[in-house]
Assembly symmetry: C2
Homo-oligomer: 332 residues x 2
Amino acid sequence: MAKTVEQIANDLNLSVTTVRLVLNGKAEQYRISAKTQARINQHVELYGYTLNHSARSLKLNKTDTLGLIVPNISNVFFATLAEKLELRCRRSGYQLTISCTYNDVDYENKLVRALIDRNVDGLFIVPSTLENQQHHLRQVKKPLVLLDRDFKYTDNALVESHNVEGGQRLTENLLAAGASPVWFLVGDTALPSIRDRLEGYLNALKKHGIEHRDWVLSVNENTPEGGKLIMNQLLDAHGAPDAFIASSLPMLEGAIEALRDRLGEVPQQINIGTFDEHPMLGFLANNVWSMQQDENAWAEQAFDIMQNALDGHPLKETIKVKMKLIKRTRRA
Amino acid sequence: MAKTVEQIANDLNLSVTTVRLVLNGKAEQYRISAKTQARINQHVELYGYTLNHSARSLKLNKTDTLGLIVPNISNVFFATLAEKLELRCRRSGYQLTISCTYNDVDYENKLVRALIDRNVDGLFIVPSTLENQQHHLRQVKKPLVLLDRDFKYTDNALVESHNVEGGQRLTENLLAAGASPVWFLVGDTALPSIRDRLEGYLNALKKHGIEHRDWVLSVNENTPEGGKLIMNQLLDAHGAPDAFIASSLPMLEGAIEALRDRLGEVPQQINIGTFDEHPMLGFLANNVWSMQQDENAWAEQAFDIMQNALDGHPLKETIKVKMKLIKRTRRA
DNA sequence: GTGAAAGCGCTAACAT
DNA sequence: ATGTTAGCGCTTTCAC
């Protein structure tokens, strides 16, 4: 397949420079004779030419590769984000390499090192903890775009959803539906995004003159197990709820499981709110409001910032992407 | 951060060879003096050393990188497979780069070219069509492991689930539950995996002395839209079913949507079978049987084959991984 | 026990 | 308009 520039040059008794110029479309600019161009093009047509990225990388000290580090991609949100980002990167000639941390703090640091060692040109990271974030900021001397979690203590560029506003809007819609209380099942307030959603929830309550901070039930893991635990507590203390919001899909999964385990079914009149959209939310017979994150917008914004940084214009902005409410109403 | 081998050698007035030998743990083998070793180790301790992968790749004509091409990763099965495969590859020092085709036939070919151009050492591919498969077999001169879809016309190594057996077992379990007919909603029989599931279904019927081929309803896209269309047809012709099997999760999503749209709810007594497992299947109030694919086993097997091929022992086997049945029973 | 040097294929600076 | 060359950092072969 291959054929190197030098081989082509030799075959045609030309210099590498000449061949390179036409290969790179600079033929006109350097006024390579039409005849030479034709000879080269024909040769390439015949034997092909594929640029050797390793050689190019060695020379230019860049790989035209970007890294993405997320907790996992079996989570639809991160999976979709990865898809959009990969597409956006490829559109500009970058290969994106995706890696998952599985929320393992040490493994995350190792991943960063592995990608830096492979000389990626820049890195998109969803850090697991503040410590991880600080570690990365120290280690990574390349363009870095933080995603999803604003742990503060840095002015590095960051893209996230507008969780406060989203949380508020979601809550207001559930409040408007009438059922009360609207419990808020919150997993892991160590995560800024979760904290912001909670803040939005409280804002909405306050706006409606409600001050029931005891409607908030929290646990310290953002997982199905956490959701199950907390829903069981709720059932113990108050029986079946009329309405609740889960701070994320994994929490919701656990909460629903608890309801089925304890009540034998998920009472259809419960109004449910959740963050992150998924087609299977339609499997619930209930009214379901889901606050969707806009992965496409994230990808565009994050890549823009990266592009600028690669061009030597590092930006320090925090972008908050608007969320979108999806309503599923059950038939009366 | 960096420091090259040559820099270290210069700093210590040694030759690159000596430095390399201790860096690569061949110190004992070549009996480098303890003193020299100490000096080198100390220097590295102090200033660090990171191997330049680009230079190494250029010299050795390999990148220690493998490629994975799947339809998309917003599909949990492929996402999980990608996760497991990435872990397995990293464990052996390979970086995995994941790309999605979105079922775009041309884009898929471009992706293969892009990865080959970047000189990946080998490729795992879920081909979209037979034509794609043949294209890849022609283009890819490197180790290639096909995944998920046995389009035949090749003896290339391939890893897939044992869909026939899985389909049969799933069907038998639904038949045993008593409800009848057990409809089979099948999307896109152009996909070998789907065809095998159907075959398993028919085997089960036959085994039970049932010959109702008209229980099979098919459409030509394996999507929510396909599932919706087909369930609507079923509702038109026979009313609400007592039991059905969906050939994949996307199909099930559409089928459930149709039920809700038409009946206002998903009748709880319907027994549902599906392929691929997902926690949110628990959102259905129904009995749900799901036939789960074992991504971990796929990853292990696929990597093994790849490893062998990279070591110069190309294998031509087709591996069929056993599936696992998950049962969700509703409370009476 | 340690050293020297060629060469992987590309780019960019400098010739003509 | 086209040619020459150095060098990116590594590996490998050969030499003392």
